[in-house]
C-alpha cells in the first residue's frame, strides 16, 4: 500500500498543471451536461402530454393520445404505502438492535457483513427472490403485496444503514445520563435516543422509499402487469406501477407512445424531486436545530 514517493521522474510544467485542472473540470462537466440534455429532451417530448386526464385516465393500447397513468399512479401509491409499512419497522428495529443493544458482539459482526452484501446485490436478483419466494413458494401470485414485499427487502439495507448513522449522532453522554437515572435500556432508547435521532431516521427512510419508487426491474420479474385498466382494490390485486408503465410505453413499437413515456418520466421525476426536497428540508431543519 505505501509506495515510496517518486521524485526522480520529470516534473509536470506549468502547462501540464493548467491542462490537468481543465481535464478535471471536464470530468465533472460531461456527466452534468448529459443530465441537462436528458432533462431537456424528456421535457421537450413529454410536456405537451401533461394534463389532469393524463394523470387519471387508464392506459390504452391503441390510442396514445387518450392513454393515461391512472392505474399506474394508484399502483405506485399502494406499493409505497405497503413497502414503507413493511420495511420501516423492520429496518429501524434492526438499526436499534445493532447500535443500542449489540455493539461489538459476534452476532453484530455477522449482521453487518450480511447487510453490506445485501446492499450490493443487483435489484433484479431481489426480483428473483420475490418470484421464487413470495409469488410461488408462498403462493401470493402476482399481487401488490408480493411486489411490496420484494421492494421492502430491496430497500431494507438502505434503511438500516441510514438509521444507524442517525442513531450514532446521539451523544453517548445522554444514554449514560438516562441509564444513570435508572432507566432500562429500552426506556433510554425509546424516550431519549429515538426522539433525538428521529429526523435523521426519517430522512434516510424517505430517501430509501424514493429509491423504491423508481425501481423497475424487480417489478417486471415479480409480475407487475404491463396493461391494466384499474388501480388495485386490495393487497391481493393485480397491479402496475409508474416505472412499469413508462417501460411499457418505451418499448411500444408505435412512436406516439414514446411521448407518453416522456410525460410519465416527468411525473416520476417530479414526484422524486418533491420527496427528496422534503428529505433535504428535514435534514437542514434538524441540523440547524442541533447547532
Amino acid at each position: 500500500m505505501r509506495r515510496p514517493i517518486d521524485l526522480t521522474s520529470a516534473r509536470p510544467g506549468v502547462f501540464a498543471e493548467k491542462a490537468f485542472v481543465w481535464l478535471c473540470r471536464l470530468g465533472a462537466a460531461i456527466p452534468l451536461t448529459m443530465l441537462a440534455w436528458l432533462l431537456y429532451r424528456v421535457a421537450a417530448a413529454g410536456v405537451h402530454r401533461l394534463s389532469w386526464s393524463f394523470l387519471t385516465d387508464p392506459p390504452s393500447q391503441l390510442d396514445a393520445s387518450t392513454a393515461g397513468l391512472g392505474p399506474a399512479l394508484l399502483g405506485t401509491l399502494w406499493l409505497i404505502v405497503l413497502t414503507a409499512t413493511i420495511a420501516l419497522p423492520i429496518g429501524i428495529g434492526a438499526a436499534i438492535y445493532l447500535e443500542e443493544y449489540s455493539r461489538r458482539s459476534k452476532l453484530a459482526g455477522v449482521l453487518e457483513l450480511a447487510i453490506a452484501n445485501l446492499a450490493g446485490v443487483p435489484s433484479i436478483v431481489y426480483g428473483m427472490l420475490g418470484l421464487g419466494l413470495f409469488v410461488h413458494a408462498l403462493a401470493m401470485g402476482e399481487t401488490v403485496i408480493a411486489g411490496a414485499l420484494t421492494l421492502a427487502l430491496l430497500i431494507l439495507p438502505i434503511i438500516i444503514t441510514s438509521a444507524r448513522e442517525a442513531l450514532r449522532t446521539v451523544k453517548d453522554g445522554l444514554r449514560e445520563a438516562a441509564l444513570g437515572l435508572g432507566a432500562t435500556r429500552w426506556q433510554c432508547t425509546r424516550q431519549v435516543v429515538l426522539p433525538m435521532a428521529l429526523p435523521g431516521i426519517l430522512t434516510g427512510a424517505i430517501l430509501a422509499i424514493a429509491r423504491a419508487i423508481g425501481e423497475t426491474a424487480p417489478l417486471v420479474v415479480v409480475g407487475a402487469v404491463a396493461f391494466i385498466l384499474y388501480g388495485p382494490d386490495g393487497v391481493d390485486a393485480k397491479y402496475t406501477a409508474l416505472p412499469m408503465q413508462i417501460f411499457q410505453w418505451t418499448s411500444n413499437p408505435k412512436r406516439a407512445f414514446l411521448d407518453n413515456a416522456a410525460a410519465g418520466i416527468l411525473v416520476l421525476m417530479a414526484t422524486l424531486l418533491v420527496i427528496n426536497g422534503v428529505a433535504i428540508w428535514l435534514r437542514n431543519r434538524y441540523q440547524s436545530r442541533r447547532s
Binding site: L32, A114, I115, S123, I124, M128, L156, Q191, V220
Partner: protein, 312 residues
C-alpha cells in the same frame, strides 16, 4: 438544542422487578428478530437461486452452460444452453461503462476535493446526487430515443439497439458512484501529506499524481470494483437500449442481450412456473449473483484496507 423528552415524559414502563425484566427481554428479542431479517434474506436469496436452478442443471451440464456460445433456450428445435452470448454482452457493456465512468468519476472527484471552490462544490455535489437519483428506466428512455440516433450520425453500421449506447449510458449513470466514493478516499488522505508535497515545491497536479492518488488507491480501487458490480447488475438500460438479441460477440456496434436483459425479456412474457424458460432465468440470476458477490467482497476488503491505512 431541543430538550430530549426525558424531563417531560414519565417512565411509564415498569422499571423494576420481574415484569420489567420480561418486558425488556421481549423488546430485545423483537429487535434482534428485526436484525436477523438481513441474514434470512441473504440465506433466502442463496436457497431460492440454488433450488430453482438445480432442476436446470439436472438437464444441462455446467460444461455446456459455461462452454457453449449458443443460447437458444426457448426457440427452435435444437435447444442450446450456452451462456456466453449473455456473458459477452454483459462484459462488453460493463467494460464500456467503466471506460466512461472511471476516468470521468475520478477526475470529478479530484476536481471536487482538490480544486473546486466551496461555492462551486455546493452546486456540483447536489447536481451529481441528482444524477445518481435518476431512475435507470429514464436513462433507458434517453439512450434509445436520443443517444443512439445521435451516435448513428457518426458511427456507420451502428444497429438500432446496440451495446455501445447502452454501455455509454450506463457509464454516465455510474459516474456519481465512482466520484463520491473516490472523493471520500481522497478526502481521507492526511492533510500533512499534501503539505509535505507542496513543501517539496511541486504543483497540485504533481502532488495528486505522485502522492494523493497513490495514497488513496485502495479506496479508489474499491470504488471501481463496486462500479463494475453495479454495471454487471444494471438492468433497465440494457433491456431497453441494447437490442435484446442473444448473440455471441464483443462488437459494441451490434445488438446483444445481457444476463439481466434476458431475465427481463423472459419475465415480460408468460412464463409457466416449472418450465425450462422459468428455470433458465434462475440459473442466469445465480451466475449474476455470484459475479457481483465476488466483486462486492473484493470492494469491501479494499475499503477496509483503506480505513486501516487511514488509522495507521
Amino acid at each position: 438544542m431541543t430538550a430530549p423528552a426525558v424531563g417531560r415524559t414519565a417512565l411509564h414502563t415498569p422499571t423494576r422487578g420481574r415484569a420489567a425484566r420480561w418486558y425488556e427481554r421481549l423488546i430485545e428479542l423483537g429487535l434482534a428478530g428485526c436484525g436477523m431479517t438481513s441474514i434470512l434474506v441473504t440465506i433466502g436469496i442463496v436457497v431460492i437461486l440454488a433450488h430453482e436452478s438445480k432442476d436446470f442443471f439436472a438437464q444441462v451440464s455446467l460444461g455446456e452452460f459455461l462452454g457453449s456460445t449458443k443460447w437458444t433456450p426457448i426457440i427452435g428445435d435444437h435447444r442450446s444452453y450456452g451462456v456466453w452470448p449473455l456473458l459477452s454482452a454483459t462484459l462488453t457493456t460493463a467494460a464500456i461503462a467503466l471506460a466512461v465512468a472511471i476516468p470521468l468519476g475520478l477526475l470529478a472527484a479530484i476536481y471536487l476535493s482538490e480544486y473546486a471552490a466551496p461555492r462551486t462544490r455546493k452546486i456540483i455535489k447536489p447536481a451529481l446526487e441528482l444524477l445518481a437519483g435518476v431512475p435507470t428506466i429514464v436513462f433507458g428512455y434517453f439512450a434509445i430515443t436520443t443517444l443512439t440516433p445521435a451516435l448513428r450520425d457518426y458511427i456507420p453500421g451502428l444497429a438500432g439497439g446496440n451495446l455501445l449506447s447502452a454501455g455509454l449510458m450506463m457509464g454516465i449513470m455510474i459516474v456519481p458512484l465512482v466520484a463520491s466514493l473516490s472523493e471520500d478516499a481522497i478526502y481521507a488522505v492526511p492533510q500533512s501529506l499534501r503539505e509535505a508535497a507542496a513543501g517539496l515545491g511541486g504543483g497540485p497536479f504533481e502532488a495528486i499524481r505522485k502522492v494523493i492518488v497513490p495514497s488513496a488507491w485502495s479506496g479508489i480501487a474499491a470504488a471501481i470494483t463496486l462500479a463494475a458490480s453495479r454495471a454487471i447488475g444494471e438492468t433497465m438500460i440494457v433491456a431497453i437500449a441494447a437490442g435484446n438479441e442473444a448473440r455471441f460477440g464483443f462488437d459494441p456496434r451490434q445488438p446483444g442481450q445481457t444476463a439481466t436483459a434476458y431475465i427481463v425479456d423472459i419475465s415480460k412474457g408468460e412464463t409457466p412456473h416449472g418450465s425450462v424458460a422459468y428455470q433458465t432465468i434462475f440459473a442466469v440470476a445465480a451466475m449474476l449473483f455470484v459475479m457481483t458477490l465476488i466483486m462486492n467482497v473484493i470492494s469491501h476488503r479494499l475499503s477496509r484496507r483503506l480505513r486501516a491505512a487511514a488509522r495507521a
